[in-house]
């Protein structure tokens, strides 16, 4: 029956022409191939986010008076509401984690080099947008922790010289974090960011599809020396089925996490209450948070906060443009970019752990 339906469609749309490139697409097979899965897993978790996000929209109410109660309603009254919301929260966190793993694996496997600079840049922009999703979505339950996290986060944006203040007012929808901030973040979270991310994912995937998978330089060299070692597998169905198995593992992990550790709702936000003790940002912002805490309040004549934020922004910008710093003479730059990658990874892990245990 499917064959007949396919023939009927193919007669009219010439599907064969569309599918043809996928038939020939191959994925290099070597001992590091497993790292190729993380981009796909991140994509899968994004799809889980879109799906569970749409479900949550059926009951969520984006106003300061109702947001907390509506999430409470989802968690307590709606059947399987706790499961859907917990999956949305867990999947968000896992997605940020796998996006970071994907980024570092691309860095260490040298997949960002010419001709794949644009893939790297689009991927880095996606990483920032995903963190934006995390930041904006965190406020939506309108609980105490989220309220102060947003206050601090937007205040930090306000520290940037010249454009900082207007940017902060734009983000907050006023000088303070209020219900206006909530509706704004809601708009970013469910409309603006999804649109941008969808476009960027399309570009990112198109580039990956067009250029094929990168082979790490060491493997490439070994293959060049001994062509009989070269191994490839077909993308369809071999690699795709393996990827689907990874997705199955991902959804099983999500289900288990959501069932065993349902996401907390916390206490409703009160704009005129003190910030709770031990307040910290989500884990993926911890390394920045801890770095900023360590910078003294005045460094020479510059405010420590301003210095820290400018430093972070410049580091981010540098990271986006990383492929362009690698010269055509690979031997010289190869080592220092890998060294920098290791430093960044260690720095992030150490600062996150430090931030987690520090008072």
């Amino acid at each position: 029956m499917f064959a007949a339906l396919y023939r009927w469609l193919d007669d009219r749309l010439h599907l064969d022409g569309l599918i043809e490139p996928f038939r020939h697409k191959t994925v290099p097979t070597h001992r590091l191939s497993y790292w190729y899965f993380f981009g796909g897993i991140t994509l899968f978790l994004f799809m889980v986010q879109v799906f569970t996000g749409i479900l949550l929209l059926l009951y969520y109410r984006p106003s300061a008076n109702e947001a907390f109660e509506s999430v409470q309603y989802i968690m307590t009254r709606v059947q399987f509401g706790w499961l859907i919301r917990s999956i949305h929260s867990w999947s968000a966190n896992l997605m940020i984690f796998t996006a970071f793993v994907h980024m570092f694996s691309v860095l260490f496997l040298k997949a960002y080099r010419k001709p794949r600079e644009m893939t790297w840049v689009s991927g880095m922009l996606l990483l920032f947008l995903v963190m934006g999703f995390g930041f904006s979505g965190y406020l939506l339950p309108w609980n105490k922790l989220a309220f102060f996290a947003t206050t601090v986060g937007t205040q930090m944006a306000g520290q940037v010289p010249i454009i900082g203040q207007p940017m902060m007012v734009f983000l907050r929808g006023g000088p303070q974090v209020t219900g206006a901030t909530l509706t704004r973040f809601y708009g970013f979270h469910v409309a603006v960011l999804p649109m941008l991310v969808t476009v960027l994912i399309a570009i990112h995937l198109f580039l990956v599809q067009r250029q094929g998978m990168s082979v790490p330089p060491k493997v490439e060299k070994a293959w060049a020396a001994n062509p009989s070692l070269r191994r490839e597998m077909k993308f369809f169905p071999n690699f795709l089925l393996r990827e689907l198995m990874a997705w199955y593992v991902a959804i099983a992990t999500l289900g288990a996490l959501a069932a065993l550790f349902p996401w907390n709702l916390g206490v409703k936000a009160e704009p005129f209450a003190s910030a709770p003790a031990g307040i910290k940002p989500e884990w993926y912002f911890l390394f920045m948070y801890q770095t900023l805490k360590l910078i003294p309040s005045k460094v020479w004549i510059v405010d420590g906060e301003v210095l820290g934020i400018l430093g972070c922004s410049l580091a981010g910008l540098f990271w986006v443009l990383l492929p362009f710093f690698e010269s055509d003479k690979p031997a010289r730059t190869r080592t220092w970019i890998t060294g920098l990658g290791i430093f960044a990874l260690v720095f992030m892990i150490v600062m996150s752990v430090y931030g987690y245990v520090a008072q």
């Binding site: 479900l55 309603y73 009254r77 709606v78 059947q79 399987f80 509401g81 859907i84």
Partner: protein
């Protein structure tokens, strides 16, 4: 006697594995779908209205006029006739659920959505409504006009 060999359908190992794998995938997909379908069903609304409500106070309504009041989670229509009789009915049109109103000029109940008309006892007299409006009991308790569901005999 020589019996014909019974034709056997051979279950190959491949078939068995495909069956288990396919069945497993289908079962897990069903387990994903089930919570989603249950999530889509809105939880029942708790109707705190009870069976009795104070619709208005004596003197709130002029003779030959009507007023909408809340009866639980649905609207009701309280009418004061020219002769001083109170009447209370469900205000939900039996046609497609619009809220009806009292027309002083017609001395009838009118639904503006599709021009349905009911008489004062709630009987559907013209237009598309298929059934009469539910009538409620009205009695006075001091200054309060109390509306309650009709006690079924």
């Amino acid at each position: 006697m020589c019996a014909e060999p019974i034709p056997q359908t051979r279950v190959t190992r491949r078939h068995a594995i495909e069956l288990f794998l396919g069945g497993g995938v289908l079962a897990s997909l069903a387990s994903f779908l089930y919570p989603v379908l249950r999530f889509l069903v809105p939880p029942p609304v708790i109707d705190l209205g009870g069976d009795e409500v104070v619709a208005a106070k004596v003197g709130d309504l002029k003779p030959n006029s009507g007023e909408i009041f809340r009866f639980g989670s649905r609207p009701g229509l309280l009418i004061l006739e020219s002769d001083g009789t109170y009447r209370a009915l469900s205000a939900t049109c039996t046609h497609l659920g619009c809220t009806v109103q009292y027309r002083a000029d017609l001395r009838q109940i009118w639904c503006p959505c599709h021009n349905g008309i009911y008489d004062l006892s709630g009987r559907n007299v013209s237009g598309p409504p298929p059934r009469p409006l539910d009538a409620f009991d009205v009695h006075l308790r001091g200054e309060e006009i109390v509306v309650s569901r009709k006690q079924e005999a």
